[in-house]
């Protein structure tokens, strides 16, 4: 491939690619992101290709293995284009049938269709799925059109046109102005206005003129994976954003700091960087404009704290990943003491979009203070799990019920945890809260990187707080005392409460300690770490009191506080629980009510899970 040396040449190249493609050609698309691969999509993709080849359809039907589309619940998924027919949870055995029935004979296979949780209706087409209907998929939509390892696919959907536009017609200051006007705020959690950050970085003096741009792909929140999906599914959008950012702040060197646990993201990104270099979109004299910029990948060791800007830069420099006091901001003195502009994956991916369509278009989406869309990873006790991209200002109810399809088993929605371990819980009475940066902070949580864990009435709030604090005690860097020792002592108290050893005054001590940790910690990890505890106490204080005073866990989770017994009226004596119990604590004759020996019972809950008659009572 000869390097593309001008924006005009890029357009000619794009027209060339599009000219060779027939939009009405039959095609099969399957998503093979990390989430898809774990469900067996890799084998499915191989089988499809083999099948098409065996039947001599390789020429007439195209096959595309893309990154994650977002609807993880129905993986492995096959979509047939141009109609957009969706088949969910496809297994290897289904593939010959799909090809012979649907691809060749245009007949729909009923059993592979998605059933709507609310209406019970079968849904054929992608555009009718309620999961996608309420979303505004500005960033994720391209994931279903692009083979992440093909730069031509990205160029075909309009990729690198924003870069061509700014190199041709804009000055760096104009780019910064455009981003400032768009109101884009950092998607990594803090929500700092991106344009302002770029401006400070451009204006900050650098003694040798070197500036850096960094992409923060150290996504570590439990249950959050939007950055991974973007990097895996559409790496060029992030690269394009970074090149534009580098042009705006005047940088020649960029890094992508990505976690070691994301091998596919690293692989796809490496390929993407090589291709961009080959095409002349990265490296020296980009598109003949005289602007030089290159990107290196740096892999982190998987420390959660390295998502913090100063810790990330310390780690990039080869030091211990621990934060420093940020009295001098990293935009002034960051990596190697040079002005450094750090943005999150999703922020970078927004940049080409804004420059292509204009800040005015972008500001129409979202609320007054938060513009654009945000990708959330909707997980936990919800019917449709996956990545959802929604406009800012959408209510929690719309996300959970309209997109998520409600709570499984018709159970009661209890709370939602946003912002990962640094965020807080939002109880059911705030379900109509519009989701944006500021409103979430007002209720004691935060946007964070966009994890959204839904909980029903079988989730114990004390246990939840304990889980997050445990995560943070392990993931704190251990540098400052309040975070290291404070969180550890908080965990002790929470452990005691869940084990029935809670004492009067523990809640007050937790609150006091939480406030001190927030106030005195060195970095944002520590100062947000008590959020799960403080917000659960704020909204579910009576649940804590139940644990401490009545030694009772209302959700039936804390093992030391619950006993399992069998409802004699409901028990049919089928014996399934007897076979399942690992402690052999259940006895009883066939067809007669069974009973549980409390001495032997370890409250693992397996009997409750296997009982088809709801005869196991937790009290």
């Amino acid at each position: 491939m000869k390097k593309i040396i001008s924006p005009a040449e890029l357009e000619t190249f794009r027209t060339g690619i599009l000219g060779k493609r027939d939009p009405n050609k039959t095609g099969l698309v399957t998503s093979v992101g990390t989430c898809g691969l774990s469900c067996g999509a890799g084998d499915v993709a191989e089988a499809i290709e083999q099948n098409l080849y065996d039947r001599g359809l390789s020429e007439s039907v195209y096959f595309l293995a893309t990154g994650c589309h977002g609807f993880c619940q129905i993986e492995p998924v096959i979509i047939l284009y141009p109609e957009g027919i969706v088949y969910k949870n496809v297994s290897l055995e289904d593939i010959p049938e799909i090809i012979s029935e649907t691809v060749i004979n245009h007949r729909i296979i009923d059993r592979l269709l998605y059933t709507d949780y609310v209406t019970g209706r079968k849904i054929i087409h992608e555009q009718d799925l309620p999961f996608y209907n309420k979303q505004k998929r500005l960033l994720l939509d391209n994931n279903r059109l692009i083979d992440p390892k093909s730069i031509n696919d990205y160029i075909a959907v309009g990729g690198y046109s924003a870069l061509a536009k700014i190199l041709l017609s804009m000055k760096p200051e104009e780019v910064i102005d455009e981003i400032k006007r768009s109101g884009l705020r950092g998607r990594g959690g803090g929500g700092f206005p991106t344009g302002l950050k770029w401006e400070s970085c451009r204006r900050a003096p650098s003694f040798d003129g070197v500036r850096y741009v960094i992409c923060n792909a150290d996504e570590g929140d439990p249950g959050a994976y939007m950055d991974r999906s973007l990097l895996e599914g559409n790496p060029h959008s992030v690269i394009e954003g970074m090149i534009i950012g580098a042009f705006a702040v005047g940088s020649q060197k960029g890094y992508v700091y990505v976690r070691h646990e994301y091998p596919l993201a690293v692989e796809n990104l490496t390929v993407a960087l090589e291709q961009a270099r080959e095409y002349g979109l990265l490296g020296e004299n980009i598109l003949g404009s005289g602007f030089d910029f290159d990107i290196k990948i740096s892999r982190g060791g998987g420390a959660f704290v390295c998502g913090e800007s100063t810790a990330l830069m310390a780690s990039l420099e080869g030091g211990i990943g621990e934060p420093r006091a940020k009295h001098v901001h990293t935009v002034v003195s960051g990596l190697h003491q040079r002005p450094t502009n750090l943005n999150n994956v999703e922020t970078w991916a927004n940049v080409p979009l804004i420059l292509n369509k204009g800040a005015d278009w972008y500001t129409k989406i979202g609320t007054t203070s938060s513009k654009g869309t945000k990708i959330f990873s909707l997980v936990g006790k919800v019917n449709n799990t996956g990545l959802v991209e929604v406009p800012m200002g959408i209510t929690l109810r719309e996300i959970i019920y309209d997109i998520g399809g409600g709570i499984p088993g018709g159970r009661k929605f209890k709370a939602v945890q946003t912002g990962g371990p640094s965020g807080g819980v939002i109880p059911d009475n705030l379900i109509d809260l519009p989701v944006d940066f500021d409103r979430l902070v007002e209720v004691g949580s935060m946007m964070g990187s966009g994890g959204m864990i839904i909980m029903d009435d079988t989730t114990c709030m004390v246990d939840l707080a304990r889980y997050f604090v445990k995560f943070l005690t392990q993931e704190s860097c251990g540098k400052c005392v309040p975070c290291r020792e404070g969180l550890d002592r908080m965990l002790d108290i929470l452990n005691d409460i869940t084990e029935g050893k809670g004492r009067q005054g523990d809640i007050e001590l937790l609150e006091e300690l939480g406030e001190i940790i927030k106030d005195t910690s060195l970095c944002a990890l520590g100062s947000t770490a008590p959020n799960p505890v403080l917000s659960t106490i704020k909204y579910f204080r009576e649940e804590y009191e139940d644990h401490i005073k009545s030694k009772r866990c209302p959700a039936g989770v804390c093992k030391a506080l619950i006993t399992f017994s069998i409802d004699e009226e409901k028990c049919t004596g089928c014996g399934v629980c007897i076979k399942t119990c690992p402690q052999m604590a259940i006895t009883g004759e066939k067809k007669k009510p069974h009973s549980i020996d409390q001495e032997k019972c370890i409250a693992c809950g397996l009997c409750r899970d296997v009982c088809k008659f709801d005869a196991v009572i937790v009290s």
Binding site: G321, G478, C480, R484, D519, T520, L522
Partner: protein, 222 residues
């Protein structure tokens, strides 16, 4: 020169100083643990926190890493500061109860109880020894390993570091007098760095300091 207000006193110091330095030069006492003149400020112990007042709001910052700036208003002994400091001291005592330095500091602040579980680790991870070794001795024989609650001071691969010059600076500077000596962790049972290679049984960590009489040696105040 930068002019700022500490505890209501207007003082002026050269640019580039920290608030702690400015305060000390002007006779204002701020307690510290992980700070030592001549070593780079680290900001780990949070004992030196002060309240920075900005307009209608205020925040707590570690004075050892906070650079002075024009018009800054600092309060070193407000109720909020005292409260935060005393909880920090409680946490430090809970992780290192047998340190005389910590006990003295606690007594001076009126902290007379520890409400948290005691887990004697013998080290408060203030990093003074690590910084002394690297910055004053240009050695770098010891450093931090691990993160979170498993963080500790150690030598590379648990072996006696070649860089060590037996200067004993790490012991000298340790505020809790218990350097993470590796005695017992090595195959022959001694670290080879100490004058007296006979480990004191009652003290798992330090075998050198004059007060290393073990867990029961120092007076515990609660």
């Amino acid at each position: 020169m930068v002019e700022l207000t500490i505890d209501g006193v207007k003082i002026s110091v050269p640019e580039g100083k920290t608030v702690l330095e400015a305060a000390r030069e002007n006779g204002i006492v701020i307690p510290t643990l992980c700070y030592e003149p001549g070593l780079s400020p680290y900001g780990a112990c949070r004992v030196c926190i002060v309240e920075v007042i900005k307009g209608g709001s205020s925040s707590l910052e570690a004075s050892c890493t906070l650079p002075v700036s024009e018009g800054q208003v600092i309060v070193t002994n407000s109720d909020r500061v005292k409260k935060a400091r005393s909880v920090v001291i409680e946490l430090l005592l809970a992780s290192c109860p047998n340190s005389k330095t910590l006990q003295d500091l606690a007594a001076s602040m009126g902290v007379n109880r520890v409400r948290f579980r005691i887990k004697d680790k013998g080290c408060i991870l203030c990093g003074l020894c690590v910084r002394y070794c690297r910055e004053q001795m240009q050695s770098g024989g010891i450093g931090f390993i691990g993160r979170g609650t498993s963080r500790r001071v150690a030598t590379a691969f648990g072996e006696t570091p070649k860089e060590c010059r037996n200067c004993f600076g790490c012991e000298w500077i340790c505020p809790v007098c218990e350097r993470a000596c590796l005695a017992g962790r090595l195959t022959n049972g001694v670290c080879g760095m100490c004058f007296n290679p006979t480990p004191v049984e009652t003290c798992p960590v330090c075998i050198h300091c004059s007060e290393s009489v073990g867990s029961s040696g120092h007076r515990v105040y609660w």
